[in-house]
């Protein structure tokens, strides 16, 4: 190979490389599907419905989960100077499918320069007070109580076993005041080319007595050992406002970026 031939090959390769980079950058700037992928956990262990048991975090015995569903709503993606709100943004996230996760796909989002994302756990008071069908909101669904009470924001059902004694676990958490908005800073997050953001949903957060959110509010040391509720003492939460508040407090820490 002559020197000029070599130069031609190198030059060509360089052109191709630049082309590939340019196309990649151009593709990334095009709107694409943004996927919010939710992975359920119990502490640091992945949640497996039915078969897997987990330690009662604040007491004796082990528990298993039969059903876990929650509403994620009002998703807003933010850029440096603008934000986009998803239409009819009510998603039922549930974990009884064939995958270990559930996901929400928001079409036509510019992934590049995405700086923030916010979402609500539950159903905002306006929608919770109506019987309209919007997104996954359906007053004839399992997540609906009745039109006078509104929706369950979170449904968690299972069984606690303490010394061969079985105790049903029923957490149906609703009420307007439980609706919780979470904000995620994405400015330092690397979003993969396929537009997927992975989130962890940690069930144990619902049973924390001292949440990190409260720690922030009271300027306590967050390194303080986390205390948990004994599930046998609070095995069902439905309409008692005080109990609902105890569980819903955990919504502030419920979802984090993996």
């Amino acid at each position: 190979m002559t020197k000029s031939n070599k130069l031609t090959v190198i030059f060509s390769l360089l052109i191709i490389a630049i082309g590939v980079v340019a196309v990649t950058v151009w593709l990334r700037s095009l709107p694409q599907d943004l996927t919010l992928r939710f992975h359920p956990y119990v502490g640091d262990k992945p949640l497996v419905l039915h078969d897997q048991t987990y330690k009662n975090p604040g007491g004796k015995g082990n528990f298993s989960i039969r059903d876990f569903q929650l509403f994620i709503s009002n998703i807003v993606v933010g850029y440096s100077s603008s934000s986009i709100r998803e239409q009819d943004s009510y998603h039922l996230v549930r974990f009884d499918g064939d995958t270990t996760f559930d996901q929400i796909i928001i079409p036509e989002v510019k992934i590049q320069n995405l700086e923030s994302l916010s979402l609500g756990i539950g159903v905002d008071p306006k929608a919770n007070g109506t019987i309209m069908f919007s997104g996954d909101l359906d007053p004839n669904s399992r997540m609906a109580w009745n039109w006078q009470v509104g929706y369950k924001f979170l449904l968690l059902e299972g069984m606690l076993t303490v010394q061969n004694e079985q105790q049903p676990l029923v957490y149906h958490i609703g009420f307007d005041e439980s609706y919780t908005e979470l904000n995620f800073d994405l400015s330092n997050e690397e979003i993969s080319n396929d537009g997927v953001i992975d989130f962890k949903i940690d069930l144990l957060r619902l049973f924390q007595i001292n949440s990190s959110h409260l720690n922030e509010l009271t300027n306590q040391q967050s390194s303080e050992a986390i205390k948990y509720i004994d599930m046998s003492e609070l095995s069902h939460v439905k309409f008692s406002p005080d109990d609902v508040r105890i569980i819903a407090k955990g919504f502030h820490d419920f979802i984090s970026i993996l």
Partner: protein
Amino acid sequence: MRIAKIVVALLVILIAATLYILPNKKPDTHLVEFTAPFVFGRFTIPENNPLTQESVLLGRRLFYDPLLSSNNQVSCATCHKQALAFTDGLKTSVGVSGVPLAFNAMSLVNLMWGPRHFFWDGRSSSLENQAIQPIKHVDEMGRNIDELIVVLKQDDTYTKLFKQAFGEISEQGIAKALASFQRTLISSNSRYDQYLRGEITLSSKEELGRKLFMAHPDTKVILRGGNCIDCHSQFLTSGFGTAFDGFSNNGLDNDQTLQAGLFSLTKKEVHRGLFKAPTLRNIAVTSPYMHDGRFATLKDVLAHYNGGIKRSKTLSPLIIEADNIVKTQNDHISLNLNDTEITAIIAFLHTLTDKEFLANRAFSNPFMEENNHD
């Protein structure tokens, strides 16, 4: 000569095209106009089976025709009688073989809403698929479909009706027509519907029953409830439509006698003993109750939930947990409703009877009409 050849060629093409197009020509059909309360929610009709007047007309005739059975004596309507909200009053139905079937005949109402899985064990995922199963089933109608098609083709009325609806007679057409007719069976004028529309008020007893129906009990806030809403949606009163949310183990059997239920479809152990939560519309006329018709009266049904629950590994935790008195032990499962509350819930269930639906002539036997005209 050349012109003649061209003319002949064109004629041949024209005749061939006509012969091809005529049988393949889509019939000129007309969509059914219908109304349903918006609280029933969204519904879907399969794209390949639009709800047409022609299809419904054909489906209604097929539904009432004993020609669909091997002994020409059993029609769909044998086990699905309109006056009984399309049930048959039997514990479990009996078809051509005379052998009692495994299941109680399900009411056919508001089928465009609620669970997308049909039969008590959810084994069919579309109305079209469901409609054909009893025809083929050896104990139900025991009809060979190919033979049925031959018989239908010999009948001028069916030849005409199929031509108008689909073009030709086929298994698919039979299924589509039966599904279409069943989709028109909408019940939305019960006293409960009238109450929801603000046209009437319920009696104090019915209103107590309604409140109990719609509530999961919570002793912590002294909320008494019948817990019906945990499986039967507030407006449709059917099982829930999403995934398998409309299926439940409601404590009929213990582990030793637990039947397959939804397990027969999914092969998942966690689905053993789960059956479809049926619609409660017209429930007062659809006795006996449960998938095997084991309870003769609504009182028996309420007695089951009020102390008759049997424990098994897939029993719903909602049923174990639901109690109107503070639970001191988990051995005896009961709602612990009092007699007044039980009577009230039954009174509310009677408000779900839709007399207009039960007598609607659009759903009745078309052969009777024809005979009356003769």
